[in-house]
Amino acid sequence: MSSEVISSGHSACAGCGEIIGERMVLEALGKDVIVCQATGCMEITTTPYPRTAFKVPWLHVTFENAASAASGIVEADRKLGRNTTVVAIGGDGGMMDIGVRALSGVMERGHDLMLVVTDNEAYMNTGIQRSSGTPKYAATTTTPAGSVVPGKREWKKSISRIAIAHGIPYVATASIGFPEDLVAKVKKAQGIKGPKLLHIYTPCPVGWGYDSSKTVYYAKKIVETGLWPLYEIENGKLTISQRPTFAPLEEYFTGQKRYKHIKPEHIKEVSERVKAGWKELEKQEKAGVDLMLLP
């Protein structure tokens, strides 16, 4: 098939945004790469023994240890006299919840590796359960919208902010809706020594309950609404990659079953938070604080 890194025949759902993200990242990195994948949709849909969709060296160990296993790969690779790009990649669950100790550990130790979070805002592989990446008010099977509770009650955790707090040399957010931006960030990260983290927005038609053709629509729309800011922090310097048009949140929520129950007051709350967040983000950018040095 057309990709050097991954074949057709994988069993990701029709219209899967996460596999688009996985492919975009790997294609950008080229073939001199070793991939360490956390358990999740991207693992289950690609590697049913005795077959594999991957064409590059690829390892899966457990759900929670992609980052630490990758740190072993990096050091082994150096011992073998190579300088391969090592990527630890996983979903929001694998990297932001159960895998966050491993993530934090590799960032602190300063291994030369890429950390990639493909965020579809829930544990999809096990059937759409809440993760720390699930946005407020989204319904999942463990935060269903019922007569008393309107979906998830907490705000989404920001793994990029957490990564920045580790003072690593490169952190960026991206969305598969903006492939040029995404690829540029991946390539830039690849050129930097040390731990790098990319947090990529990857819509999931099945988990969110929208028509499979609209994956790219949502991946663009969320950026336009401002709900998913695109930015990067290179050597401590925060730069906003793209400013939103603040498209109405309704344009984003509509068509997603997970938000079917959402009420105007919820939308208002989220929308105010988005605007407030952007004000702060711009303030932060303007302040020009070196986020690697901040104690």
């Binding site: 073939k31 001199d32 790469v33 070793i34 360490c36 994948q37 693992e43 289950i44 590697t47 049913p48 023994y49 005795p50 077959r51 594999t52 991957f54 064409k55 590059v56 060296p57 690829w58 390892l59 899966h60 160990v61 457990t62 929670e64 240890n65 630490s68 296993a69 990758a70 740190s71 072993g72 790969i73 050091e75 082994a76 690779d77 150096r78 011992k79 073998l80 190579r82 391969t84 100790r101 491993a102 934090s104 550990g105 602190e108 130790r109």
Partner: protein
């Protein structure tokens, strides 16, 4: 080979340096900590080739080693107790992925209550994990087992991870006279994996998932590999004996003395048992290789004996016995009794052992005594 006097942990660290693992992952936990500390000394003086990863947890330690071993290099770590317990999930993965990782388990009791002293509950509780488990009687044997472990683990007929178990404090923190090899005499050739490597030039997928049939097949292969390790363990033991001049009674078990009554045990308590055996005239069967369990060897050794007494520092909770007893029980139809001793590091002095040995005759088949 030079006889010297050294702390058990330091002897292990020196042998590890010789074995030259490429990636070492380390996380401190008493009583295994002196090993990474000594290796860190080597490193900071530029005397260690391998890279030490100072991980965030033992879960990450084992994970990093799986990553490194899957890449194709030699790996090492040491741990104890809660640290080993925290690795549990990854241990099962490492064995079934057939990665020849070697770790030194410096045996310590498991919490609760927290206790830093020696017993075997930590490694015994991982006996199902598909790892090879060897228990050393003294630091000399532990050091020698380290050398043998890599040969066994990396043998193409085996390809399994190995735990070398040593009693915490009793061995790890004790100065003893010991021959530390200064040169491996080619006994452990470099690790050149043919089955598992992560190499952009020869891409492969490791850690694929499996539906029912291939899963069943791969687990069957795992059990076959663990079983197949037994002859290799014996062969490596014998060859080691030839090259280094130290033998431990055949590899799987070590039979000492003669007598109608047989005492079965493992690890450092056997030194006292052997002293007592000389005095009282019983036989000691020391299990060196606990997984795979050398049932045939044990059965043969126990055949026709009047009574068997198993002394152990672990409990298979809910069975009324220790795990070693349960394994030995299956090897004999004769009278067998069980002593649970030394949990939480309780000293097991010769006097106490003598008292217990005196009780064997009066005990009923299947009886277990907890002896403080």
């Amino acid at each position: 080979m030079v006889k010297k006097i050294a702390e058990g942990s330091h002897a292990v660290a020196e042998v590890v340096r010789l074995l030259n693992p490429d990636v070492l992952a380390m996380y401190p936990i008493t009583p295994s900590t002196h090993i990474p500390e000594r290796l860190s000394d080597f490193e900071s003086d530029g005397e260690l080739d391998g890279t030490i990863i100072r991980v965030d947890s033992e879960f990450s330690a084992m994970s990093a080693l799986v990553g490194a071993s899957a890449t194709g290099v030699r790996t090492y770590t040491a741990t104890s107790s809660q640290g080993l317990a925290l690795m549990h999930e990854v241990l099962f993965v490492a064995s079934a992925m057939r990665l020849p990782i070697v770790i030194t388990v410096v045996n310590r009791a498991l919490s609760a209550p927290l206790n830093i002293f020696n017993d075997w509950q930590d490694s015994i509780s991982e006996r199902d994990s598909g790892w090879i488990q060897m228990y050393g009687e003294d630091s000399q044997e532990v050091a020698d087992l380290m050398v043998q472990a890599y040969r066994i683990a990396e043998d193409k007929r085996v390809l399994l991870p190995v735990m070398v178990c040593m009693d915490g404090f009793f061995l790890s923190h004790t100065y003893d006279v010991i021959d530390v090899p200064e040169d491996l005499k080619g006994f452990v050739p470099p690790y050149k994996p043919e089955h598992a490597y992560l190499d952009p030039k020869r891409p492969q997928t490791q850690g694929a998932w499996a539906m029912q049939e291939p899963y069943f097949e791969l687990r069957k292969e795992l059990e076959e590999a663990v079983g197949a390790a037994l002859p290799v363990i014996k062969e490596v033991h014998d060859e080691f004996a030839k090259v280094f001049g130290r033998s431990y009674g055949g590899g799987a078990i070590d039979v000492y003395g003669e007598g109608d009554t047989v005492v079965v045990s493992m690890g450092s308590v056997c030194t006292n048992l052997k002293v007592l055996a000389d005095r009282l005239g019983f036989q000691v069967v020391r299990v060196r290789c606990y997984r795979p369990f050398p049932a045939e060897d044990v059965k043969k050794a126990l055949e026709g004996k009047k009574a068997v007494a198993v002394f152990e520092k672990d409990v298979a909770y809910g069975t009324g016995h220790g795990a070693l007893y349960n394994d030995v029980r299956a090897c004999t139809t004769g009278k067998a009794v069980n002593f649970i001793v030394g949990l939480g590091g309780l000293d097991v002095p010769i006097n106490a052992l003598e008292k217990m040995c005196g009780e064997i005759d009066a005990m009923n088949d299947g009886e277990t005594r907890w002896q403080r």
